[in-house]
Symmetry: C2
Subunit: 415 residues, 2 copies
Amino acid sequence: MAKRVNIGIIGFGNIGSAVASALRKNHAKIMEDSGVDLHIKKVCEVRKIRIPYPATRNPQQIINDPEISVVVETIGGVNPALKFILAALNKGKHVVTPNKEVIAKHMKQIMAAARKNRVQVMFEGAVGGGIPIIQPLRTELAGNQVSEIYGIVNGTTNYVLSKMTEEGIDLGPALKKAQAKGYAEPDPTSDIKGYDASYKAAILASVAFGLDIKWKDVYFEGITNITLEDIEYAREIGYVIKLLAVARRVNGKVDVRVHPTLVGKAHPLASVSENFNAIYVKGKPIGELMFYGPGAGGGPTASAILSDIIQAAKGGKFKALKLRRARMGKIQDISSRYYIRLQAPDRTGVLAGISKAFARKKVSIAAVVQKETVGNVATIVILLHKVSEKNLNAALKIVRRLPVVKKVCNVIRII
Amino acid sequence: MAKRVNIGIIGFGNIGSAVASALRKNHAKIMEDSGVDLHIKKVCEVRKIRIPYPATRNPQQIINDPEISVVVETIGGVNPALKFILAALNKGKHVVTPNKEVIAKHMKQIMAAARKNRVQVMFEGAVGGGIPIIQPLRTELAGNQVSEIYGIVNGTTNYVLSKMTEEGIDLGPALKKAQAKGYAEPDPTSDIKGYDASYKAAILASVAFGLDIKWKDVYFEGITNITLEDIEYAREIGYVIKLLAVARRVNGKVDVRVHPTLVGKAHPLASVSENFNAIYVKGKPIGELMFYGPGAGGGPTASAILSDIIQAAKGGKFKALKLRRARMGKIQDISSRYYIRLQAPDRTGVLAGISKAFARKKVSIAAVVQKETVGNVATIVILLHKVSEKNLNAALKIVRRLPVVKKVCNVIRII
């Protein structure tokens, strides 16, 4: 017989209502396959909208309802979501949330509350929208040591970069297109400055490594410095530019960061375009894996939330993550290959001067692209062999002061 | 405290030993994350090889050992694997196996034995090697109605087709390369004739739809008819040729098949090259997803098996699949777009004759490619709009008899 499970949903916007709609459509299938009879008992929403369930404006009506065993939080942000999540856990309810910001910033506290109350807190929808990645890292990849994750985890910036690449338009118009399609918020700051991806990077690293990654230790850059010129040069040398969330274990330290990255065209991440997301995982013994799918939107996120609800409702032995202390690496300690675009007055001795400056700091040049000069200025693109960011910065300090160099326009990491 | 779980492994070849090796390396990590202390108690292997565990040549020593709670079967094939699997289940042991043939041919019987004995039978490694797909279909996608699956599930044929595409070599030399790399068996029949993929198609369809898909009802073709010419023509019109496992629900019937397929270059499956596998899933509310990774090999398969062992050992509420009766569609009932390559003597009236024959059977031409004639023979490639396979075959019967047509060389479905 199916087990009746009462759900309370706090927040009935795009995602909350998509969960309800998907549950209505797939209720019988879920009951047959998973043996749980999911029932939305109450919805909390402060806006005056039509809600086809018993509704309240007071979240305590859900948190304190002894018949509700799973609370879905879809209001987003830290306040008051954190308060509601902790209160629900402390009332012995499972919590399901796609709220990346609150999970990234307060995972340890939330996990501790879940463990103390022997309930589950699940957040598959917080990273990669509908793409299963949090649960696979914990279960389907449980026999692996994951060493590296590279994720395209922000649909807005991936759409913008894809349009710049495919249509040769600048960031501004590409962003307008994204907004027209509903892929970017009216205020796209959190996406294009990398905040959104940084939350997801912190969550991925925490789950994959079982470590307490503090969000404030995640280095991040957005895509605002990426120009059409960089995209064109990258294409010529066989790369596409993607905003990547990176999580790696290197020499006992953890390296978690978000920045635009040159990705070789043959890499599976390179062909992830439009507003799709993908998470590429390396581990042992698995080798390499990639999970691809819709990174946002009501339907996909509802799929993730429903799966979490079903798992919580079934009441398996899934345990709250134990997060060990992390030894975080600093961004200046990473080693990487780099793309550098700079401008120089067109005269002899430019490359010689730059090469000499790089050589002084043991920075080794892999390739140089120099095109015809426009006006008085030559654009030079330099690809570097692997080098520590510290040495690179020291070298760039010298390069910037060279009389033969007008401007270092952009420095982009390469994987 | 970690729960000690004894494992018996039947078959200590490439995969069995990879499981043992991965477990040795990741034992502490698994214990910490999953709370199970996995211990290989006994290995059954008939060959005289060094085995660093208590070994036996008699599988009953494992099946009858009351201390062993998880039996891993890695001998492959139906006999005697089926006997061992059923015996272990009937002794109340969980069974983990990557054996696609036995699962595809006897899933219903195996599931029934698992349900009767309240144990689990898990086979993540049977499809897609290390790629998590069986468990995601059952858990992470549990809130979805899956409607379509397209999988590149055979690494050998994907490698062969990739080499033909990238290097312009024929099937024979490409297959030799695959054998030299260890990506193809000395006898590659099961792979290139589509048997291997057909087992996986049956399993994917059964799990995704919860239906009793009989393997003998799965239509399959291999890649032996694919020529370099087809690959070149496909490329010119924007497609790559892939061997796909297809599982769809159409009008209450199930359509499960394996055949070479023209895949549009923008489709995520198109860029899956070398011996990688990928499974593309469509469902509601998720939309589209793709899982990409290594489809074979000791390490990847060991990852899948270890994950299954851990889940079985943890003893969650994962239940044996209930398989409802399936209404199978027949291959002649499918509708598809098609690529047709044919040869004609180079004279006027060829296209007119073919078009007329197609029109008589309501087969509508979407595009035609005709190149310069070589010798006396013109090659014509025709792309058809969506049409039922039945109508297409009726039309082709007429076309084949046309005096203006020398030969219909190949007919390939398009997605």
